[in-house]
């Protein structure tokens, strides 16, 4: 995921004539689908946009561990516990992998994490919602990872080489998470008690709309999208991706025997797509600004971990230094 709202620094696209020769050469390369690599020249806006997007994506992986951490100590069976632990471990791995991709652009991991803790950097708004019952672990896998995959499959073709390659690897693991999440829900709906089935519907009711918000504002409300599309950092618009997600998800919802909390959701024979109701954009912008149910808790938890771990990291550095001196002295 999670190019929800990434500032590009430009409100209007430059024409070819307005570009410098370097910029023009860069744009021609992008247009020809030639990947940009770390050592290549790139416009400053392109570099900054990528740093923002990749760091936002990495922060999302790391913050995204928290709503799952909320249930990993309470997973109901050994199998489910092991699955959830493996998923969380994958997410930490994705975070590391993405921070590395970001660092190829000259950005510093610690500095970007500091921006997150100061509330200056974003992460996917979905993780500011609480996970309130066990079925949320299924619904997060199915809906949240599902929405992320729709975004990320397209990002495998993003113009920046290291990011594109990170996406290829991450997509494979997330598809697995999504199937696993869906299976949790399916098992509960097929063999569960009435109380367990109610958990599933409750989880879907709470996570449905926030999942749709993961694709970001309408394209006409998203001034940065045009530049990101021209640079091929983004490959498809927010609305198109959201529609793809809805179209693939609704049949799965019906197969579960559950409903979405959207009275306007229905198949449109003419367009060949599902129609759906309007997203509560006020809520979207509120959560983005820090006023979601768990924004404070999520950031505080991350900040506390890094602050309280400072002495540990300092010790590791000091020890490595001593070891180096010992090796040199020997």
């Amino acid at each position: 995921m999670y190019a929800q709202l990434v500032e590009t620094g430009s409100k209007r696209l430059k024409t070819k004539e307005e570009m410098s020769p370097q910029e023009r050469e860069f744009q021609e390369k992008v247009d020809a689908e030639i990947k940009i690599e770390a050592k290549n020249w790139m416009p400053e806006g392109y570099r900054k946009t990528l740093v923002r997007q990749i760091s936002q994506h990495a922060h999302s992986e790391v913050v995204g561990m928290l709503p799952e951490g909320n249930w990993v100590t309470r997973a109901p069976t050994l199998k489910r516990k092991l699955q959830l632990m493996a998923k969380i471990q994958d997410e930490a791995g994705h975070g590391l992998y993405l921070y590395s991709a970001m660092e190829t652009l000259g950005a510093d991991r610690d500095e970007e994490i500091e921006k997150l803790h100061q509330g200056k950097a974003k992460y996917s708004s979905i993780f500011n919602y609480p996970t309130l019952n066990w079925a949320d672990m299924g619904a997060v896998g199915w809906l949240v990872d599902g929405a992320a995959i729709v975004n990320q499959v397209v990002l495998q073709r993003t113009s920046y080489g290291p990011y594109s390659r990170a996406m290829v690897r991450i997509c494979k693991e997330e598809s697995f998470h999504q199937r696993q999440g869906y299976q949790i829900l399916l098992d509960l709906m097929r063999e569960g008690t009435d109380e367990q089935k109610a958990m599933v519907q409750d989880a879907i009711n709470r996570l449905w709309w926030p999942s749709l918000m993961m694709f970001g504002p309408h394209d006409d409300e998203s001034p940065n999208s045009q530049q990101s599309l021209a640079w091929k950092i983004k490959r498809k618009g927010n609305d198109e991706l959201r529609q793809m997600f809805i179209d693939q998800t609704v049949p799965q919802l019906e197969f579960l025997g559950c409903t979405a909390p959207d009275p306007d959701l229905k198949w449109n024979e003419e367009t060949g797509h599902y129609d759906f109701g309007e997203i509560n954009w006020q809520e979207f912008y509120d959560v983005l600004k820090g006023n979601g149910p768990c924004n404070r808790e999520r950031i505080n938890t991350r900040k506390k971990a890094i602050d309280e771990g400072r002495w540990v990291r300092e010790a590791a550095v000091a020890y490595a230094k001593k070891q180096k001196q010992r090796t040199q002295a020997a």
């Binding site: 790391v62 561990m65 928290l66 799952e68 951490g69 990993v72 100590t73 309470r74 997973a75 109901p76 069976t77 050994l78 489910r80 516990k81 092991l82 632990m85 493996a86 969380i88 471990q89 930490a92 791995g93 975070g95 590391l96 921070y99 066990w134 949790i184 098992d187 509960l188 063999e191 569960g192 008690t193 109380e195 367990q196 938890t301 991350r302 506390k304 971990a305 890094i306 309280e308 771990g309 400072r310 002495w311 540990v312 990291r313 300092e314 010790a315 590791a316 000091a318 020890y319 490595a320 001593k322």
Partner: protein, 254 residues
């Protein structure tokens, strides 16, 4: 105690110790001092819970009361748990977390290293797989003990405090009870004296390299986990870990 009863006790000790330590590590999700540690802690936890499942499955077959591994993990109360007291101690700071891990890993590695030659083939098979993982765990926690012990002034103080706090739970690792003697005599489990001296040697070596002082040889030791008498912590661990199975006893699938 018959040999069959002793084997059940012993399997539950292995399973419960893995499970409870894995649970403690799960509590640290999102709270590790660095992202690399986040990955490593969850990795170790995953190994431990995976091993617990293998031991539970074998134990459930032997107990043969219609229950399975999940029933053993999620439906037994504290007094039926057989984990070492060390594993249920709280995470506190990272020095305590790594100190607990190191003392456990040294015991775990040495135990598994002996169990791979067990006269019980099933035990030997499970141990062989687990030993590879435990070898990595021990290497990792030994390195951390050295980093923290011989790092900065603060880390040294914290690490020494952790050793002092945890030392009273180490006696249980190497003090045999009836179960240990029966297992050793049957050629199933390790020879207790050998295990104890190897553990002391290994721990002393790492602590010395880490510029840390081990506890006194004659220090008072807190024991009881092996026969189900636990510290106050275990009840709370189980209340959290077993919540869903307890709250929805009619559920047959998850």
């Amino acid at each position: 105690m018959t040999q069959a009863e002793a084997l059940q006790e012993y399997l539950l000790r292995l399973a419960d110790s893995d499970m409870i330590l894995g649970q403690r590590l799960c509590e640290l999700c999102g709270k590790a001092p660095a992202l690399e540690e986040e990955l490593a802690l969850m990795n170790v936890a995953l190994d431990l819970v995976g091993q617990a499942r293998n031991w539970y499955e074998y134990a459930a077959e032997l107990i043969d009361d219609g229950g399975d591994a999940d029933k053993l993990a999620f439906r037994r109360d504290a007094h039926n748990y057989r984990n070492l007291l060390l594993t249920e101690q709280p995470n506190e700071d990272y020095a305590v977390t790594m100190g607990r891990q190191f003392f456990f890993d040294a015991w775990h590695y040495l135990t598994l290293n002996s169990l791979v030659d067990s006269s019980n083939e099933r035990v030997a098979g499970i141990a062989a797989k687990a030993l590879k993982e435990a070898t990595y765990h021990l290497r990792r926690s030994s390195e951390w003990i050295k980093r923290l012990g011989d790092g900065t002034e603060e880390s040294h103080r914290r690490m020494q405090d952790a050793v002092d706090i945890l030392w009273r739970f180490t006696g249980e690792l190497i003090t045999p009870n009836d179960t240990d003697h029966i297992m050793a005599e049957a050629g199933i489990g390790p020879e207790p004296d050998q295990l104890a001296s190897n553990w002391r040697e290994m721990v002393n070596e790492v602590l010395t390299q880490a510029t840390l002082t081990p506890g006194a040889d004659d220090a008072w030791m807190y024991m009881g986990g092996k026969h189900g008498e636990h510290t106050e912590h275990l009840g709370f661990i189980l209340a959290e870990m077993q919540f869903l199975q307890r709250a929805y006893p009619d559920a047959t699938t998850w």
